[in-house]
Assembly symmetry: C5
Homo-oligomer: 93 residues x 5
């Protein structure tokens, strides 16, 4: 799961049927520090709001999490992060 911040919404009227009813949000991922920031779209499964830090799953796991193999989703928000504790001795940089 990647750690992302919810930064926006996206609307698409013309879309594959199985996406109807899903809330699609723009998330920003910082996997490798500022240089490799990326923004993409994830289906929100937990009621996340703008500015919240969330856990995002990808690939076939996101499809399954979104309601079964018929949902054409490859990225989904599956948790809202309450707290994150990183040991800077080991993660320093």
């Amino acid at each position: 799961m990647t750690i992302c911040t919810v930064v926006g919404h996206v609307w698409a009227t013309k879309k594959e049927n199985s996406l109807s009813g899903l809330k699609l949000m723009v998330v920003r991922e910082e996997r490798g520090g500022r240089k490799t920031v990326s923004e993409y779209v994830a289906a929100d499964l937990v009621g996340a709001g703008i500015g919240e830090r969330v856990l995002v799953v990808s690939g076939s796991t996101a499809r399954r999490a979104s309601g079964g193999d018929e949902r054409m989703v490859d990225s989904a928000i599956v948790g809202i992060i309450d707290s994150l504790e990183v040991d800077r001795e080991h993660a320093s940089r």
Copy 2:
């Protein structure tokens, strides 16, 4: 799902049978800003046109979206973006 812009078409006469009848388009993805722009080919499932911003799914989800597990596709356009609202306070960079 990634946010892409449709930038072109690709034609292939000699191809795996299951690709017949699919409209193959070149999409440009900007996941991490200009430095990591990438262009690749996606099957268009929603009637997208050149210059439109679209949602693209990858991997096994794209294969399923394209008509079942027998379609040899790993990238597909599943939505045309009407509007995209990003909160610059949280996404600033």
Copy 3:
């Protein structure tokens, strides 16, 4: 499998049901040297502690390792590394 160091914990009260009961840890991966370091979250399946080097699997393999296809996990710690022997003649740099 990627070689990671466990660097932290993450807590999420509001989450997809299938994540309940899983210990979620922050891992740091160094696939390509210092420049491409990335931190993300993995379900701990082997009782790993902060500072330990671990083996992490991704994608559908992580979901299966975490207890079956119903677990919405895409990254999991599956081993604690006792020792790692790299031949510097071949891996030099």
Copy 4:
């Protein structure tokens, strides 16, 4: 699908059984311009030759395209590109 150029062949006598009989070719991918060029090996399913531009699929789609779930392939050439038309107004960089 990614756009690649076929640049070579690879031979492996000692290999997993299911790879027997497959033509393995080295392809060069240019997803993000010159800086992120990568070369890897794909099973050729369409009779591609050195220097030709081709469409390459990855992951479980490549395995299925190569003759079913028992083929241990994760990258396959599924089409030979006849022509590629990219709108430079939208793809300019």
Copy 5:
């Protein structure tokens, strides 16, 4: 499949059960030239030795190659490269 060099071994006493009996090796991949070198761990299915160039598969294909869907592996060595012939006219750089 990616082209890697075997550069080491890894030992893990405490691990997910399905990894028992697998030989785990450290491989170095050079997909995009020296700048994007990465090292990770793959299950060796063909008796590879340190210094040999090998073909490595990833994802669900690696899991299947390693003995079925119950093996918690996402990277596997499936061939030892005898020779690799790359046309420098097309692959120059």
